[in-house]
């Protein structure tokens, strides 16, 4: 029998604090609150059942994301849907629900996000919104860091096109990121 962790650390407490992120990840990924909450419930139960495999001190958020992501992935496969969603059927189904949002801005964005292929969608959400590093995102998705980077880049390009954002013209990077941009371009 394994020793209980330090008394101030509780698996339950750490899961609780990760729940807002887990839900946001689920909703962003599935494009649907109801679907996401079912995924979150499955994730909580799975995570609880295998809590011995979680190493205290490592990133609980990334660990839970991995479980939810794999659950979503396997559910899609079970339904016989192509992950790449080339025919857009899944996208259509996902786009039915965004009325839950009052803001047109949010609805537009959710629809555009839902049109991305699954691998690009998860990559840009993980790197661009959840605060995970490229390395952690790669671990969640079970792929190389370079793969994550190229997926994020393709996702960003497609979103820009879909949302008719001309990049720098709308918001424009500030001086700091412009400097980063030119350094990156130069390297």
């Amino acid at each position: 029998m394994s020793e209980p962790g330090p008394s101030d650390w509780s698996f339950k407490r750490e899961m609780l604090s990760a729940l807002p992120n887990l839900r946001a990840f689920g909703v962003s990924l599935s494009g649907n609150h109801d679907k996401a909450d079912d995924l979150v419930q499955d994730t909580i139960m799975k995570a609880w059942a295998k809590q011995d495999s979680f190493e205290p001190g490592t990133n609980m958020k990334a660990w839970l994301f991995t479980i939810l992501r794999n659950e979503f992935y396997s559910q899609m496969r079970k339904r016989g849907r192509e992950i790449q969603d080339s025919d857009g059927i899944f996208t259509e189904r996902m786009s039915v629900h965004p009325a839950q949002y009052g803001s047109l801005d949010m609805r537009d964005f959710q629809t555009a996000l839902a049109r991305l292929p699954f691998d690009q969608r998860e990559a840009i959400i993980l790197v661009g919104a959840t605060g995970l590093s490229y390395e952690e995102a790669a671990e969640v998705c079970g792929c190389a860091i370079g793969t994550i980077k190229s997926r994020v880049s393709r996702a960003r390009t497609q979103l820009q096109t879909e949302l008719k954002i001309s990049g720098e013209a709308d918001y424009g990077p500030d001086e700091t990121s412009s400097a980063v941009l030119s350094r990156t371009a130069a390297s």
Partner: protein, 68 residues
Amino acid sequence: MAEDKPERKGAAVANIDPALDAVSQRLRRYYDSVKDEAIPDRFLDLLEKLDEADKAHNADDSNERRRT
């Protein structure tokens, strides 16, 4: 809207893709809007139940050991 600006910590700036652009800002707004919602009670209840079940189970185990 000013508070929606992504944090620019040293490490993050070095790590970001060329410019945290308009797309990234909207993505983060969208994600954060869900993150800021209240956690549904069903999840809090579920965690409580799982925790209680574990405790009951562990208590059974130690009773078992005491008997043998």
